[in-house]
């Protein structure tokens, strides 16, 4: 890594009175004045019903959207003030995404898909294949590297997506309904993988409407009508 990691004491995610309002008649307050701190190594689940503002929170945390009010600091960097290009660069380096619908390139091999995660964030070319291979072996897909995603099961596809997200070494793994398209058995297996990643020191935020999934996290946060609340475990 050419860039030194930020100091340990800086939280990974720091929301200060963040809200996101969509213009309209009447304006929709998807996320209301929210404070949240996620420290390095935290495993946080955000749980809430449909329309509760989960997706908006994910977009905000993932630097895909800007808060209308408040301050969001990702590793101490104020994201709200960044222009689009820098926000994109920050996203590419610091955040790994895992989506419900996987978003794999169906015509490319598993290895290529994982390499795609390192294409834009200045990972040196000669490091990409070794890092991708390492990530795939970590998720247990070392034997599937030459396959295309179309030949994989749903669980395997989501593991490829996880490998793609963790291969560049992000500060935060942001998972949006990662088990939404998986059956119970593969869900458990994926959650075991999350536990392993967590044990390796990765910071995870898992957004889900599934109680069983959210129960596996250390911290549980519920979101209802755009209001976040810590759930005691």
């Amino acid at each position: 890594m050419t860039q030194p990691r930020a100091v340990q004491s800086v939280p990974v995610v720091e929301l200060e009175a963040v809200s996101r309002t969509y213009p309209g008649f009447p304006p929709v307050k998807a996320v209301r004045s929210t404070d949240l701190v996620v420290n390095e190594g935290d495993y946080v689940s955000v749980v809430g019903p449909s329309g509760s503002g989960k997706s908006t929170l994910l977009h905000l945390l993932g630097c895909l959207d800007r808060p209308t009010d408040g301050t969001y600091r990702l590793r101490g960097i104020d994201v709200g003030k960044l222009p689009d290009g820098k926000r994109t660069a920050l996203r590419g380096r610091e955040i790994g995404f895992v989506f419900q619908s996987f978003h794999l390139l169906s015509h490319r091999t598993v290895l290529d898909n994982v390499v795609t995660g390192m294409l834009y964030n200045r990972t040196p070319r000669r490091q990409r294949i070794p890092q991708a291979t390492e990530a795939l072996e970590r998720v247990g897909l070392g034997h599937r590297m030459g396959f295309t995603p179309m030949k994989l099961s749903g669980g395997e596809r989501q593991r490829v997506a996880v490998a793609r997200a963790v291969a560049p070494g992000p500060s935060l793994l942001l998972c949006d309904e990662p088990t939404g398209n998986l059956d119970t058995a593969t869900t458990d297996s994926l959650l075991d993988l999350f536990d392993e990643l967590r044990a390796d020191g990765l910071t995870l935020i898992v957004i889900t409407h599934n109680e069983a999934v959210s129960l596996r996290a250390d911290r549980r946060i519920s979101i209802i009508d755009g209001v976040l609340a810590e759930v005691d475990t």
Binding site: K86, A89, L105
Partner: protein
């Protein structure tokens, strides 16, 4: 300054080429169909350019062989001369010998209209009160080399030679028109014709000439015979046939050879510079063909634009993912532009090859020499790439302007 800690995203040229290449190869069938339009357009352009050049060159070659080797030398007109009074000529009797020594002269001969005092010509001294038997026919004196110089051919008999000329023999060659009027069709019986009271023996009848068609209706006699019988003072003009490409040079040299004391007394007519003629013909043919090729290319460009746009709409999810992993709008635009430009480039390469093959095939069937400017097949792939690039502008702008949130939500 928090911004300093953020390193901008990068998408190296090598990665760009690789991603565009894979993007194209991911759907080989579609890529082939997309490229087809450009292939046709470029092939049309290249082959029309080449065929226009080839055909133009062909026209010029035929034209050249006839006219580009003809040089005529005359006396420069010096004021107005009365009919019947012979103007002083500066062309010597041995013009043929002087010119044939010049390198590049194939044949040369003098040609002079003979003043016969308007005597009528007849073939047999028969008085037929009903039919016309006497005609007014031009008589020309010519040195023996003239026949070769003007590309004359015979129907029957022979040309007179230097021997006839030296001996001042009363022999004549008839042009086909004159022969028909005088009713002479065979020379094996040595038919006689009469110019007034002067008798001439017909030794040959012309079939055709490549130049000087005036001789086709005339009686042609040797120079010395004309001097002896009709008091011809001097040759009037000289016809020269040169090697191909030598006409300009011979034009300069012949006046000096014929009139060393004052070449300016002679007027030399040489064919126009062949290059000028060639360019004229080629540009006429080119314009129409180029328009057709341009239309074909435009259709190809629209094809690429269409397919790239469809491809953008299909790959919304991929675009969203790339934005999520750090690709900027510019990187997305670059990728789609590179794909469309690459398709244009491939179309241009294939099209140029097909175009060259078409030129060679057409030339082979017509037995032409294929001619093609070397820059055409070299520029064609670039034109194809430029076409693809322009065609990709709008689709890649669409791709770049997608919001990552929307792209991730709608795309799969």
């Amino acid at each position: 300054m928090t911004d300093k800690r953020i390193v901008r995203s990068r998408f190296s040229f090598r990665d760009l080429v690789a991603e565009a290449g894979v993007g194209m190869l991911a759907r080989p069938g579609r890529t082939v169909l997309t490229v087809l339009g450009t292939v046709l357009g470029i092939a049309a352009l290249v082959s029309t350019l080449g065929l226009a050049k080839t055909a133009g060159n062909q026209i010029v070659t035929r034209f050249d062989a006839l006219a580009a080797t003809s040089v005529t030398v005359e006396n420069r007109a010096q004021g107005f001369s009365q009919p019947g009074t012979q103007q002083e000529s500066h062309i010597p009797w041995d013009a043929e010998d002087r010119l044939i020594r010049l390198n590049g002269v194939v044949a040369a001969g003098t040609q002079s209209l003979v003043d016969t005092s308007n005597q009528l010509v007849k073939s047999v001294p028969i008085n037929d009160p009903l039919g016309q038997s006497e005609y007014s026919i031009d008589v020309y004196a010519a040195s023996p080399g003239l026949f070769n110089a003007i590309g004359a051919t015979l129907t029957t008999g022979r040309f007179y030679d230097e021997g006839h000329n030296e001996r001042q023999e009363p022999v004549a060659i008839l042009g086909p028109g004159a022969a028909r009027r005088l009713n002479v069709s065979r020379v094996d019986q040595q038919p006689a014709i009469f110019i007034g009271d002067t008798t001439l023996v017909v030794v040959g009848i012309l079939n055709d000439t490549k130049r000087e068609p005036v001789l086709l209706d005339a009686i042609i006699i040797p120079n010395n015979t004309a001097r002896h019988l009709f008091n011809l003072q001097a040759p009037a003009e000289v016809q020269i046939r040169t090697e191909i490409g030598a006409a300009q040079l011979i034009g300069q040299q012949s006046a000096i050879a014929l009139s060393p004391n004052d070449p300016s007394l002679l007027r030399v007519t040489v064919p126009p510079e062949p290059k000028a003629v060639k360019e004229q013909v080629a540009s006429d043919v080119n314009t129409l063909f180029l328009v057709l090729g341009g239309v074909a290319l435009l259709v190809g460009a629209i094809g690429i634009a269409n397919v790239t746009l469809v491809s953008v709409l299909e790959r919304v999810g991929e675009i969203g993912l790339r934005r999520a992993v750090g690709a900027t709008r510019r990187h997305i635009a670059a990728q789609f532009l590179a794909e469309s430009a690459a398709m244009g480039l491939i179309g241009g390469l294939i099209g140029a090859s097909i175009g060259v093959l078409v030129i060679v095939a057409v030339s082979a069937t017509r037995q032409w020499t294929p001619v093609l400017d070397p820059w055409v097949p070299l520029a064609a792939p670039l034109v194809g790439a430029a076409t693809g690039l322009i065609a990709g502008l709008y689709p890649s702008w669409r791709a770049a302007s997608l919001e990552p949130i929307d792209a991730l939500r709608t795309g799969t």
